[in-house]
Structures are given as structure tokens and as C-alpha cells.
């Protein structure tokens, strides 16, 4: 049962973040269509946006299915082995518990997301398309931060419960920028660095500049909110090395710092190299920095997979504060 809880929860949270990241990336990081765009840029943009659209549909379906799966496993676990499972009991959990009510509300939000995605797939004017994009982004962001209402923060008893939920919500929102956006940034780099187009390299350089700025803000917010969440879960600093939960948390922070190392190299070295390579007088091979950046992003992904091992164990461990 614990395995099922971990897997469904992990899958659902991850895909919720990705769904939000995809919308954010499209709204803020894919350069807008310009009249002066060359044919190569138009073709690339259409293909990339088409890929994001297909991804959105798949991610939405997985989000809904994993929500049902998460609800089912959670309900079975809550009912326990001593009680017979019947539809009235399931209905009771859906309507009379916070987890059930939030799940129903989120299902309604996801239905609206589906409507927006469908409407976006029809031919529309630029203004209507923009409204639909922002509406979709708002809805998926709401769906994501609503997870704070069914997590650790929601169960906090005492005067800080609202603050705990707010911090958790901000933390969740920030993850959709970084590392969530990292995935789509890597895809953008991979789709542009191999093409022999100066325009596309300039476009990738612009996306890199924007992503760096957004990531910097997101990492700062993640660090601050992560610290605050640590105060909510750790009773004493010595818990960080004396308790299993604290030791895992410490290891996770160290890996997070490793990801920051990759990010710092991207920001302070590779981003500047990419900018220099785009100067007209810059001679020679122009894809070196972009390729190095792409590999760094993959490196961040590798560290991320190590962090997930820690998070999976943290997920079933009681916090030292309890």
C-alpha cells in the first residue's frame, strides 16, 4: 500500500508540475511570432509549439488518471483492512474529507483546462489565443498550488497553519519554473543547436537569457520557501544529522546545491559564451556553448534523479517535529 501511495502521489505531482511548466514555457519563453521572422524560425516555432500542444494533451490525461489512482489508493489506505469497501464509503471520503473535496475541485479545474486546450487547438485570432493561453496557465497553476491543501501543510495544527500552506503553495509554484522549465528548455536547445540557422541560434540565445532570469528568481524562491518548510518539519538543528529524516533532508539539500552548481555555470559562463557567439564578428564554430549548456541541463537532470530517491524515502518518514 505504501508503495502504491508513493508511486501515485509522485506521478501525479510530477505531471502537475510539468503541465504548468509547459504553459509557462509557452507564454514566457518561446519567442513571440514576429512579421520579420524568417521561414526557418516560423517552421521551427510551429513544430515546437505543436510538440508542446501534444505534450499538454498527454500530460492532462495522465494528470486526471493519476488523480483517480491517487484518490483510490488513498481511500483504500484510509478505510483500512477491517472495513468493507462500498460506494457509500467512497462517496463519504470524496465529499466529507478535505482530500476528497480538493480532489473534486481539482477535477473541475482540469476539465476547464481540457476545454481551454481544445479551444486553443481551433484556429483563433491572436488576441483570443493569448486569452486562452493565460486562462490555461492560470488554471494549471491553480491546480498545482491546490496540492498544498492536501499535503503536510494542510494538516498543520496551530496558529501557523495558514502560513505553512501559503509557503508550500509558493514552493510548488516555483518548481514549475525550475526545475520544471528545465525540461522544456533542454528540448528547445536540442531542437535548435543542430540546425544550421543563425536566426534559430539567436532565438535560442534569447530563450536562454529569459530562462536564466526566470530560473534565478525561481531558485531564490525555492531556497527561501524550502528553508521555511524546513523550520516547519525540523524541531532542532541537530535533527538534521541525528534523525533519519534529517539525514535524508541534508543529503537532498546537498544534491540541490549540486544542481545549483550546474545552474551557476550555465548562468555565469555558458550564457555569456552563447551571447558572444551570436555577435556578427564572432568567427568559427558557433554551437559549442549551446551544446555544453544542453549537456549541463542533462547533468542537472541526472542529479535530479538522485534527489528523487531521497524524496521517495522522505515521503514515508515522519518528520522530527512529530
Amino acid at each position: 500500500m505504501i508503495f502504491g501511495l508513493v508511486v501515485t502521489r509522485w506521478l501525479h505531482w510530477a505531471v502537475c508540475i510539468l503541465l504548468t511548466s509547459s504553459q509557462l514555457f509557452r507564454v514566457y519563453l518561446v519567442p513571440r511570432r514576429e512579421v520579420s521572422d524568417g521561414r526557418d524560425v516560423r517552421l521551427w516555432r510551429d513544430e515546437f509549439v505543436s510538440y508542446l500542444s501534444r505534450f499538454d494533451v498527454v500530460a492532462l490525461v495522465i494528470t486526471v488518471l493519476s488523480l483517480f489512482a491517487w484518490f483510490a489508493v488513498t481511500a483504500l489506505n484510509a478505510i483500512g483492512p477491517d472495513h468493507r469497501i462500498d460506494i457509500s464509503l467512497i462517496a463519504l471520503i470524496a465529499t466529507e474529507t478535505q482530500f476528497g473535496r480538493v480532489s473534486i475541485a481539482r477535477l473541475a479545474i482540469l476539465a476547464l483546462v481540457g476545454i481551454c486546450l481544445f479551444a486553443s487547438s481551433r484556429p483563433t485570432g491572436i488576441d483570443r489565443d493569448r486569452v486562452l493561453r493565460f486562462a490555461t496557465l492560470s488554471l494549471v497553476a491553480l491546480n498545482l498550488i491546490a496540492l498544498a491543501l492536501v499535503g503536510h501543510a494542510a494538516a498543520t495544527a496551530g496558529p501557523t497553519d495558514a502560513l505553512h500552506i501559503a509557503v508550500d503553495a509558493v514552493h510548488l509554484a516555483a518548481t514549475s519554473v525550475w526545475p520544471g522549465g528545465l525540461v522544456f528548455f533542454a528540448l528547445l536547445l536540442r531542437s535548435t543547436i543542430a540546425l544550421p540557422s543563425t536566426n534559430l541560434r539567436a532565438l535560442a540565445a534569447e530563450a536562454t537569457r529569459r530562462f536564466s532570469a526566470c530560473s534565478l528568481v525561481a531558485v531564490t524562491v525555492l531556497g527561501m520557501t524550502g528553508l521555511a518548510l524546513g523550520f516547519f518539519s525540523i524541531h532542532d538543528a541537530s535533527d538534521l544529522w541525528k534523525t533519519p529524516y534529517g539525514q535524508l533532508l541534508t543529503a537532498k539539500v546537498l544534491f540541490f546545491c549540486g544542481m545549483l552548481g550546474f545552474g551557476a555555470q550555465n548562468l555565469f559562463i555558458l550564457k555569456n559564451q552563447i551571447r558572444l557567439e551570436e555577435l556578427p564578428e564572432s568567427p568559427g564554430h558557433r554551437t559549442g556553448a549551446a551544446r555544453a549548456l544542453f549537456h549541463n541541463v542533462l547533468g542537472e537532470a541526472a542529479v535530479g534523479t538522485l534527489i528523487i530517491l531521497i524524496v521517495a524515502v522522505l515521503g514515508i518518514a515522519p518528520t522530527p517535529r512529530h
Binding site: 474529507t97 494538516a155 525540461v183
Partner: protein, 118 residues
């Protein structure tokens, strides 16, 4: 699909919040206590808010017979308190058993004993 799997694996880094568990903070009557009067209810303070429909306390006598009034409920002013009322108890040892689901859906169970003495 492999790519999607890798993406999901990477993104799971974001699920950083550890699961909480509602543990017994303190109880009335106190854990392991001896009292000269029969308590009118068993009241447990948990470390987290618990769900009304998925949380219960049962009280058993030394013969294993349930003696509470089957009316477990979450306190109306503090959702971290669960209580069940009792009829007048005869002197003897009693075991309170609880199973609660916290608002974050995590389930915990436990027992403690108390005694009514003459």
C-alpha cells in the same frame, strides 16, 4: 514514452514536502494513568488535524469488550482533538485504541492504557 518517463523522474525532485503523520501528543485520561473516578470521555490531542469521517477511538475493558459509546468525533473547536464518550466505568484496566487519518491523508494507529481504581 522513455523520454516522458525521464521527464517525470526529473520533475519528481519538486515533490519535496515530507509526509506528515498525526501522532498522539497527549491524552485525557493520561497515558498509563490511574484515576479514582471514571472518566466521562477519552480525549486525544494529535500533532495534526485529523479527518472526522476516517478517525475513531475505541475503548476496551480488560476482557476485550468495547465499552465506549461509539460516538468518536473530532472536537468542534480544535480539529487536532478526537474524543469518544464513556459510560461510568467499573474499576479496572482499560485500553484506548485509535486509528486516525490526518488531513494530509496519512493513517496512524496506536493504543494506550489507563486504569480506574477504587
Amino acid at each position: 514514452m522513455t523520454r516522458l518517463g525521464l521527464i517525470l523522474l526529473l520533475l519528481s525532485v519538486a515533490t519535496v514536502t515530507g509526509w506528515a503523520h498525526a501522532f498522539l501528543d497527549h491524552a485525557d485520561p493520561r497515558v498509563g494513568s490511574q484515576g479514582k473516578t471514571s472518566p466521562s470521555q477519552v480525549k486525544i490531542w494529535f500533532t495534526e488535524k485529523v479527518e472526522r469521517v476516517l478517525s475513531r477511538i475505541e475503548v476496551f475493558d480488560s476482557a476485550g469488550k468495547e465499552v465506549d459509546r461509539h460516538d468518536s468525533q473530532v472536537n468542534s473547536t480544535n480539529p487536532a482533538i478526537l474524543e469518544v464518550s464513556l459510560p461510568p466505568l467499573k474499576p479496572g484496566k482499560y485500553k484506548a485504541s485509535w486509528r486516525v487519518t490526518a488531513v494530509d491523508t496519512h493513517v496512524t494507529t496506536g493504543t494506550f492504557e489507563f486504569e480506574v481504581v477504587r
